[in-house]
């Protein structure tokens, strides 16, 4: 049995760094009374949303397998871990910024379109890097077209309304 040193370092090193960062962050937040009910609300909501992202990624991975692409267990688990933890963190930060800003964030079609583009690009770039196959980026064309179409249609409608 062969042990991958890089894998062990990445797995346990990443976990140690993550726990250390989480602990330091909590310590700093406690000093500023940051571990209050708003903090709990934001991070519970972020975790809830991250399960939707994970569900989406599971469907994408199942689709790839159905299209005949071979994916290893480690690759699939790595992508799921990254999607779940990554989306949890990104959504949490986004909600934190949104809650403390004076201008309320609105879920407009333009924002939805940009969101679709960013999410599909990140997802398929990660899959391309992990599988070492750039052809996976082609899968992001359809969601990107949808995102651009949604954003541009909304912008055109807004321009027509203002004229």
């Amino acid at each position: 049995m062969e042990i991958s040193i890089g894998g062990v370092l990445g797995l346990y090193g990443g976990m140690t760094c993550g726990i250390l960062g989480w602990w330091l962050g909590r310590r700093k937040a406690r000093k500023n009374r940051g571990l209050d009910e708003l903090h709990d609300h934001i991070w519970q909501k972020a975790r809830s949303f991250s399960w939707y992202v994970t569900l989406g990624v599971i469907y994408v991975l199942f689709s790839l397998i159905m299209f005949g692409i071979e994916l290893s267990t480690a690759m699939v688990l790595g992508i799921l871990l990254l999607a779940h933890l990554g989306s949890w963190g990104i959504i949490g930060v986004f909600l934190t910024i949104s809650m403390s800003s004076s201008v309320p964030f609105q879920l407009t079609p333009v924002n939805v379109g940009i969101g679709i583009n960013v999410a599909s690009l990140i997802t398929f770039t990660i899959i391309s890097i992990m599988t070492n196959n750039w052809l996976f980026l082609l899968f992001s064309i359809l969601p990107n077209m949808m995102g651009i179409f949604t954003a541009l249609t909304a912008l055109r409608l807004n321009r027509n309304d203002s004229e």
Binding site: A29, N32, R33, G34, D36, E37, L38, H39, H41, T96, S98, M99, S100, S102, P104
Partner: protein
Amino acid sequence: MKNRIRELRKSKKITQEELSKVVGVSRQSIIAIESGKFNPSLELAYNISKAFNCTIEEVFIFEEEGMD
């Protein structure tokens, strides 16, 4: 749910930071509550009201939706 925190804070010349220290939450929480983005728990609403020497009803205005 609307609230009169900003108005009461200005009248008593209290900053968001000072209010957050009194009630034991972060300044971000006060910003979120003031702007109506976050509804506080009953305990926090009570503490905020107490900081202004008011009752909860005087600080928070409950709006019933779809009730005629």
